[in-house]
Structures are given as structure tokens and as C-alpha cells.
Symmetry: C2
Subunit: 337 residues, 2 copies
């Protein structure tokens, strides 16, 4: 396996990516990594860590793509940026199987869409982040921002792709799929949801469990939520923000009284574990599903551990043959409809 | 002031509505209430509570509208249901100023839309629930489910109506308005959001503060969120569900170890206060803004206190002249564009 790692664009670049790659190489003996970025800085980190291995290759592309770049312009004009260069290698170099980047999401989606082919039959790629649900497991959301305008058929494909993703990455057999909607009953929502509901009911190979209201998101009833990119994005970010704000508020409460401080002291480990449990960085990056090559977008704030997790996530998706499974299921679905 | 209270359709009907009305009458000497529902049951509760006042009127309409009714069908066919009867009185009886119902949301919106006129110039009515933000204040979301398909002009009107609502109901001067979007920058999101952003920037009388990402919803930075009904609904329900699930999870943690149990004991009051703070029932019902008469939809699970709050909320909106202010601002906005 050969994976490209974009070493620019994250909050902790390039240290997070270079050190994350080194950690991933230690765990995965059949892995090779191409680090794309500022060669001098990358070498400096490797030297400091005394890493010398033929399994690391470096490609010099020191320009950075940022969240302020207009996606299409960046793809066309920033050809020497690490991200666009990495995408080009992903397309042109057949020995390269996957790519990991902590850089600008919008540019990555645009570059992948314009330069990397989609899996045969796939209408649109979709982002599928993983969120900790409060019952202790993960729940995926597909799509969460790659597409704002979608059709019922796209939502159906998001369900198929997300199902294979949850099975391959998290080992969840027959994941329970919910359609994000504003009510439980079949006829709730707009035409898009009503038509998608009908399609999802008869889609082979997925375990469709009906509409999901946003208040059920984290209760453990669903393993995968199917949504348009706008409301899927709202769902993920709202859950993340609310959990964080509630914990922050409790912390403030605890500090307000001696008695609570004492209680907080007794529960210190518990709160630390909860904070860790709710830390999105521990749940891997966000896979861009539906592309011919595996692409994982890490959080911008990823550190070396989070980057290692994202790289290993790409390994798992490759080893598990996720893309081949998606291709077969999409073909089967098209045949039956 | 004369307010109609629908005494069927809630989880605790008719006790919650009848007893809530009695409590509201005690606090508001200039208030009169019409209770619509099963007359015998209503009289039974009043007798049991020893309430005898000329300020209560009863209208017998014992049929119930439920969440399973198709909205349009219910409006046409269930004419003797308490909700549809109440809506008819609201339209026909000029002495009636407002209505409160804990019944089925979809039917209420359909009935109001079909039977009650909109404030001049208003394109669509919108729901605006109030959610506790973690900084200690409320934040409103307009719309949160009355409209799934919206235009930029509708979002602009939601901002205007929501602004007057937050000012009248919660006394927040010049509330900070955010547009729910998937990124902070002006150009983020779909065409709807980009055009709405431009309109909101130049809308007189509102304090537009730019795009709001869902993760900022509860941090206290915004007083009012403008959204299409679908994503607004997702936002509210996700925040509600997440806060609840986090507290539930902590409770489970606390019960898992003796040491944590002891800590929990010390913090018992704190957790109780937080649970109360996050209890949506304390934040009043959800106003349906933009109609010629004031309509407040209480939570289905409302008890007598929550129903009292909803009735008093209707009083405040009447006394504060919210609808007149909305009419003037919409006219001003139409003039300037």
C-alpha cells in the first residue's frame, strides 16, 4: 500500500503529518508513504526524530492551499501547492492508492471532483464523518457537506456508500440506516425526503430503519444517518458544539462553589474520560466516499495521533476493499431499479 | 385580552391546559380565556379545583386532532375537533386575540395557513422556538419547521419577525442575528444562503452578524438564528437531544463507581439546576410568527406550568404589539428594496 500525505494546510503542519506518518509506518509493515510539502522542513523533522527508512518518499511542493482560497481557482492556479500536487499524483501514479490531507475541505472536494474519477455509477462523492454517540459507539453521517443540492437517488447512494464505510472502517455489520428528517412518519418532510424514503425502503443490501429526527442522533438507535450535505453538516456541528458547551458549562458550575469543586475532584477522571470520549479527533478523519481512490480528510486541528489514525483509516478502507464493494452494490442497485 | 386555549391533543390534555389557564388567569387580571374541548371533562377539572370565574368560557368540541392526521384532511374534515374549532373562532370572533395549543404541529400550521390571514406583506408564517444557550440566555430559531422550501426573501422576513419576537417576548434589544450556514465566510453555502446573506446585510432594523455555523449555536454569540424550516428543525432538535444524552451519559457514569456517586451527591443540586435550565418546557411555546392573530404552539408534553407559560407568552406578544411592529417593518423593508 502506498499513501500520499499532504503535509501543509493543517493547524499543526507539517509536524502533525510527518510524525503521524512515522507512527503509522511503525504499525503497518506493508505501508509506504509519500510526504508532499516543503521538503526541507519535512527532512528537518525526520532528522530530528532520527527516521531513516526507504518506505518514506518526499515530494517538494511548498505552496499552501488555505480556507480562503476559492476552490476552483486553487485547483487551476495553485498547481505547486502540496494539495493539488498530491491530487495529481493520486490520479497519475497507479502505484498510489490513497491520500490523507488535513488541509482546506472545499479545495479538496473541488480538486477530487475535477481531477479524480468517481467509482462507476456514483453520481456524487460524499463526506462521511464519524461522531461518538452517547451509547458508546460511533455514528456516521453521509453526506455532511460535499453536496448541498441532492436528489433522492443521491441520498440512496449515500446510504449504500455509508453502509460499506461503516462495515469496513468500524466493523459494524448491517448498520442501521436512518434518513434525517423533521418527523418520524414516512410522509414527513419535503418531496426529496419522501421520495428518498421510498427508494431506501427497496434498496438491496442496506438496513433501512426509517426516518430519524435530529434529537435521536446520539441515542445509539442508528449507525448511519443519510442527509443532504447542508443539514448533515448542521447535524454534526450542532452535536459537536452542544456536547462541548454543556461540558464547559458544567466546568463553570463546578468552579462556582467549594462543595461542587470537591465533587468535581472526585469525578476528575470521569470528566477527563468523557472529554476524551467526545473528542472528535479520536474518531478518524472524514472519508470522501465514491472516488476511485481512497481520500481521507483529517480535521484541520489534527495532531500527530489524529493524523496517524487518518492514515490507518485509509489503510483499513484499502485492505477491506471498500471501493470494490461500493462499485458492486451501486451496479446491483442500478440493475434492480 | 381574550385567548383561546385548545384543550385536546397534548400528552397531558385537558388537565395541563385547564389548570394552566387557571394559573395564567390568577397572574393576569385583564385576561379572559376560552377553553375549547370536551366540556364535561373541562368542567370536572374546574369543579375539582373549585374555580368559578366569569373570565372562563367553555366551547364544546370533543374531537381530537392527532399527529397521525393528514394536515389538510384534518382541516377539512375534523371541523368539530377542538383545534379546528379554535382556529375558526380565532378567525371569526373579533374579540379573540390569540390562541394556544399543545396539539399536532402540522395540523396547526395547515389550519392557520388556510384559515387565518397573514400580516400584510408576510410571505410565509414561521415557527420560532426558544432554546437555552449555554451562556445563560435564550436563542431563537426562525424558522424551525413551518417551511421546508424557502426563498432568500423569506429568510429576510424570518429575520425581521424573529427580531421583533425576541425583543417583545424576551426583552432583548437589537438581537444579534446569524444566518445558519455551513461556513463563516459570506460566500459559503448554496445560492439560497449567498443571496439571503446579501439581503440580510441591507435589511433595516435588524442586527445582522453574518453566517453562523451550527457549532456556535449555543455559545451565546447569537440571539436569533435564521434558517429554512428543515435545517432549523435539525438544529433545535439536535441541540435538545445532544444536551439530554450528555446529561444521561454522565448520570450513568456517576452510578458506575462509588467514588463518582459520592461526587454526584455533592453536586446533586447543581445537576438538578442544570436539568431545569436545559428543560425546554421552561422556555415557553413556539410562536407561529407572521399571522394576523397571535398563535403559540406549546410542546406536546407541556404540563400545567408550561401551558401557563405559553398563555402568558401570548399575553406578552399582544401587550407588546409585536404584530403591529412586524407589519411596519415588513412594509419599510418592501419600500426600501
Amino acid at each position: 500500500m502506498k499513501i500520499i500525505v499532504d503535509c501543509l494546510g493543517g493547524d499543526n503542519s507539517p509536524a502533525a503529518e510527518v510524525e503521524g506518518a512515522v507512527l503509522a509506518l511503525k504499525n503497518n509493515k506493508d505501508l509506504r508513504i509519500v510526504l508532499v510539502g516543503d521538503e526541507e522542513k519535512i527532512r528537518e523533522i525526520l532528522t530530528r526524530r532520527r527516521v531513516r527508512t526507504p518506505r518514506i518518499e518526499i515530494v517538494h511542493a511548498p505552496e499552501e492551499v488555505t480556507g480562503n482560497d476559492k476552490p476552483i481557482d486553487a485547483v487551476r492556479l495553485k498547481k505547486n501547492s502540496s494539495m493539488i500536487r498530491a491530487i495529481r499524483m493520486l490520479r497519475e501514479d497507479e502505484s498510489v492508492d490513497a491520500m490523507v490531507s488535513n488541509g482546506a475541505t472545499g479545495v479538496l472536494v473541488a480538486a477530487a471532483t475535477l481531477r479524480i474519477g468517481r467509482i462507476e455509477g456514483v453520481r456524487r462523492p460524499a463526506f462521511c464523518p464519524m461522531v461518538p454517540n452517547m451509547a458508546g459507539g460511533p455514528v456516521g453521517v453521509c453526506d455532511s457537506g460535499a453536496n448541498v443540492d441532492v436528489t433522492p437517488e443521491m441520498l440512496q447512494q449515500f446510504a449504500i456508500m455509508g453502509t460499506h464505510y461503516m462495515e469496513t472502517f468500524r466493523g459494524i455489520k448491517n448498520p442501521k440506516v436512518g434518513l434525517l428528517n423533521i418527523g418520524k412518519e414516512e410522509e414527513k418532510g419535503d418531496d426529496l425526503r419522501r421520495e428518498a424514503y421510498k427508494l431506501l425502503e427497496k434498496t438491496p443490501g442496506i438496513n433501512f430503519c426509517g426516518n430519524m429526527e435530529a434529537r435521536e442522533f446520539l441515542n445509539g438507535e442508528f449507525d448511519l444517518v443519510v442527509a443532504d450535505g447542508f443539514s448533515g453538516n448542521v447535524l454534526c456541528k450542532c452535536a459537536e458544539g452542544t456536547a462541548l458547551e454543556v461540558l464547559k458549562r458544567l466546568k463553570r458550575d463546578i468552579n462556582s462553589k467549594k462543595k461542587y469543586q470537591l465533587g468535581g475532584l472526585l469525578m476528575k477522571k470521569m470528566f477527563q474520560e468523557e472529554k476524551e470520549f467526545m473528542n472528535y479527533l479520536n474518531y478518524g478523519g472524514c472519508a470522501l466516499l465514491g472516488m476511485e481512490k481512497v481520500i481521507v480528510k483529517g480535521h484541520g486541528s489534527s495532531d500527530r495521533i489524529a493524523t496517524k489514525v487518518s492514515i490507518e483509516q485509509a489503510c483499513m478502507l484499502l485492505k477491506g476493499g471498500m471501493n470494490e464493494k461500493i462499485r458492486d452494490s451501486i451496479a446491483l442497485c442500478d440493475q434492480e431499479s
